[in-house]
Structure formats: structure tokens, C-alpha cells
């Protein structure tokens, strides 16, 4: 074997190992959580409220709380994110203001989540007098999710070939008709991927909801958007650190449910993507 082929083999090996290194932590995490937690994941655990200082019973209110927060986050961040990305890509002229907005979006995604938590607390909870509520928490999580949704939507729109727009304009379509019929249908898979990614992150965040919505112990379901809720990540944090003599399985089981929830969201997005690819909306 000559030197070039040996080097080629080494390169291949290094690349393969690097790729494997990505998979191992994910598999180990899932394995560890499932192994330690699966015994505690029962029907009662999923459908009942916590009892006896959260050491018994289930996590139903926290599951509902997280689902409500994810939906609330989506309601605020999806329209704002997608519409602003459309504006940035299709309408905005390349000037100082546009560059400033684009720079802000990039920087927004680098802000630590606890800062979003503090920001949401001062703006929504105190200044706008929403109190610690689903509304305040959703808005905080929505602001945190915006940069990812905007960036993903922007990239999805920019990846639609210019020729698609060209045909549409040449047939006399307006800018909006062109976007609506010739650009958006092709960008939807990319937009979905970005949205689910950012919502998965919102579902798992503790810091932004810490001061804005999360309840330590609230064994009932929310009645309005001004109620507090329990949420899975915060519940996991409290039972792991704040409650003495907590059975380990319960923490792992809570983690398992959270991961399962995120997994289901990803699954839905895959199904939706396949659906839109086939139908193209119109």
C-alpha cells in the first residue's frame, strides 16, 4: 500500500470516529434515562397529580403545563418569526436598518436563557402586570425561540431558486402572489424543521420559565392563561435538588417523559414535512 492510500485510510478512520462520537452520548443518555426511569413510568405516573410532597403520584400537571407552554410559545413566535423572515428576505432593501436587524437576530440567539428569564420577568411579569402566568412564560419562551425560527425561515426562503420567482413575476404575479404560491410552499419543510427545533428547546428550558410561569407545586390544571403551571424541566429540577429523599426513578422517569415529548414533536414535524412535500399546499 502506498502512502497516499494509507493517509486516505487514516482520514476515513478519523472522520468515522468523529461521527461515532456524536452518536455515543445521545445513545448513552437515552439508554441511561430509560434504564433508570422506565420502571417508574406507569399509567398512574402520566395521568395523576403528584402526592405526598411529590414523592408519590404522577406528573400530569407538569406534562400539561409543558404542552400548554409549547403551544403558547408557538402561537407567538411562529407568526412573528415567519413573517419577519419573509420581510427580511423578500422585501427589505439592503440598507443600514436591515443589516442592524439581521445582526440583532444573530446576537439574540447567543443570549443565555437565564437572561431571557430576567427580561421576561421585568417586562411581562412586572411592567405589563401579567403576573407569573402562562402568558408571561409563553411570551418569554417565544422571544427566546424567535432567532432560530427567523434564521431557519430565512435560510429556507433563500434556498428557493430565484428562477421560481422569475417565472411567477414574468407571468404578471405580484410580489405577494409570488411569495404565497411560488416561494412559501417550497420553504415550508425548512421552516418546520427550524420551528420544531426551537420549540423543542423551549420545551426543555428551565431558566426562562423560572420567574415567569413555573410553579413549584400546583397539583391542578390551569384554568386561564393568567394561571401558573408546573412544567417538566422545572419539576425535574425541583425534585432533583429541592426535595430530600426523592426516589431516583422519579427524576429519570420525568426526564424520560420530557424526551418522549420532544421526540413526538419531531415525529409530527417529519410527518408534516412529508405531507407538504407531496401536496405542495396548492
Amino acid at each position: 500500500m502506498n502512502a497516499a492510500r494509507i493517509r486516505q485510510k487514516i482520514a476515513f478512520l478519523v472522520l468515522a470516529i468523529a461521527t461515532l462520537l456524536i452518536v455515543i452520548p445521545i445513545l448513552l443518555t437515552i439508554f441511561y434515562i430509560v434504564k433508570n426511569g422506565i420502571s417508574a413510568v406507569t399509567w398512574t405516573f402520566i395521568t395523576q397529580s403528584p402526592r405526598n410532597g411529590m414523592k408519590e403520584g404522577g406528573i400530569f400537571p407538569a406534562i400539561v403545563g409543558t404542552i400548554v407552554l409549547v403551544i403558547g410559545t408557538m402561537l407567538f413566535s411562529l407568526p412573528v418569526g415567519v413573517l419577519s423572515a419573509i420581510y427580511l428576505v423578500e422585501y427589505a432593501k439592503d440598507n443600514f436598518f436591515t443589516r442592524l436587524v439581521k445582526l440583532s437576530v444573530v446576537n439574540l440567539s447567543g443570549i443565555p436563557s437565564i437572561i431571557y428569564g430576567l427580561f421576561g420577568f421585568t417586562l411581562f411579569v412586572l411592567l405589563m402586570k401579567l403576573g407569573t402566568s402562562i402568558l408571561a412564560g409563553s411570551l418569554t419562551l417565544a422571544i427566546m425561540s424567535l432567532p432560530v425560527i427567523i434564521t431557519a425561515t430565512k435560510e429556507a426562503l433563500e434556498s428557493v431558486p430565484f428562477s421560481f420567482r422569475e417565472i411567477s413575476f414574468s407571468l404578471g404575479a405580484t410580489k405577494w402572489q409570488t411569495i404565497r404560491y411560488c416561494v412559501l410552499p417550497y420553504a415550508i419543510p425548512g421552516i418546520l424543521t427550524g420551528t420544531v427545533l426551537s420549540l423543542s428547546r423551549a420545551a426543555g428550558e428551565t431558566a426562562p420559565i423560572l420567574f415567569t410561569v413555573a410553579a413549584f407545586y400546583l397539583p391542578r390544571l390551569p384554568r386561564s392563561v393568567f394561571d401558573q403551571v408546573m412544567a417538566l424541566p422545572y419539576h425535574l429540577y425541583t425534585i432533583s435538588t429541592q426535595v430530600p429523599n426523592m426516589p431516583m426513578e422519579l427524576s429519570f422517569a420525568t426526564g424520560f417523559v420530557l424526551i418522549a415529548l420532544v421526540f413526538i414533536m419531531n415525529l409530527v414535524s417529519i410527518i408534516l414535512r412529508a405531507h407538504y412535500r407531496k401536496k405542495k399546499l396548492w
Binding site: 439592503d94 428562477s163 421560481f164 420567482r165 422569475e166 417565472i167 411567477s168 413575476f169 414574468s170 407571468l171 404578471g172 404575479a173 405580484t174 402572489q177 404560491y181 411560488c182 417550497y186 405542495k280 396548492w282
Partner: protein
Amino acid sequence: MVNFMVSLSNPMEIETTIETKNLNLYYGDFRALNDVNIKIPGRNVTAIIGPSGCGKSTLLRCFNRMNDLTENAKVQGKIIIEGNNILELETDLIFLRKKVGMVFQRPNVFDLSIYNNLKFGLRIHRMLSDKDHIMQAIQSGLEQVNLWQELKDKLRKNARSLTLEQQQRLCIARVIILKPDIILLDEPCSALDPIATLRIEELLRILRQQYTLVIVTHNMQQAARVSDYTGFMYLGQLIEFGETNQIFTNPGEKLTENYISGYFG
């Protein structure tokens, strides 16, 4: 500059559809069109020939203001189509592009069914709402490009599954269905094989009875075969314009003669 009308045998009978007056176009500092004055007669095929980068596509894209999409393009002068200077600010681009259709180099059908490809224009212009009328329009559009017999049973098939020639015909039908006066064709055969090219040319000769066709081509034989009038462009200037026969057999300018006899290009 030569006086173009002198070279036309019977100037009185020919109705001018597109006329440019001192048309200049700049991409930033680059002058892509240099004082172009052209009078394109109606109900004929006019070919614009010239070497790559001479501005022939740029000129064509002026006629339906597609250059507006290019960010740093600046146009000066006048383009008069049916009595109106389309470079005026108040020009209705939607109406203009409906009247002046365009067929591109690559057969750029939408990734949709044949039916929806044709319906697109009707839909954006809110031309027809009744299903039967839409079907009639689609049928007549496909008939005009000789596709109806082949495709009438598979209108729901994705247009991308057609052959390139069929796709390009579909693109022409998609323009025709909007009832344009002028159809601009930007090297419409460059993605097609020679046989398909000949068949498209045949189609153009039929269509010229109803529409004013302007075709940009780098293929001189094609210009000679298909067109009634030919304009030769070089470095952004319209060097010569006249009847195709005259341009190819007895060009008035040395540059034209050198180009069509293959000295450069």
C-alpha cells in the same frame, strides 16, 4: 448607425409594436445597452442575434421590465409598446407582463401538475373562475402548442415528468393562455435537442400569425430559419436591423458580415 427603415422593403405596411428610443441600460457602472433604437414589427418573428454578453437578453428583458428584478440595473430612454412608454413610473407591471409574456432558456415549469401550471396565470389575474371556462382555456392553450392530443388524459400529472420539449411547449402555452400580444423568447431551444428545436421553430412560425414574437438566440441558423426580421447586437449596441433575408445575404455593416460568416462569436 444605419437607418433601419431604409432596409425594410415595404415600411408602410408594417405596424411597429415595440419601439425603443435611445435606450440605455447600466448594471452599476457597466453600460449593457448603448443607445438602442429599434422598431419591432407586429405579427412577425424578430430575432436578436449576437455574441454572448452583447446585451441581447438584457434588451429582451427590458420589454416586460424583468430587469426591474436586478437590483442595480438602471434604464434610461423610452420603450414604446402599443403607444405607451412602459418605462414610465405609472406602468402597471402586472398588466404589462400579461400582455408581454416571456419564455425562458430552461423550460421552467412549476413543480405542479400540468393543469395547475396552466391555471396559475388565470388564477393570479383572476381571469376565469368557472371550472368549465378554465378547462376550455387550458384546452385551447394546449391545442395552440400541439400538446392537447398528447396530454389531455394526464393533466393531473406533474409537469416535471414531461420531456424537455413538452415542458417548453407547456411554458409557451402558459404564456398564451393569458392572451398576450407579444411573446418574448430567451434562447428557448438551447436546452433542447436538434429535432425538438426544429419542432419548436415550426410552432413559432404558426404562432406568429397571432402574436408578435421576439426571439433571442445565439444560433444564427435558427435566426435565419425562424425569423422575418433580425437585429444584430454587439457590445450593447444594435449594429444592424432589417429583414432576415437581407441581413444574412447582404448585410449593411462589416461587423454583421463578420459575425454571420463566423469570424467571431
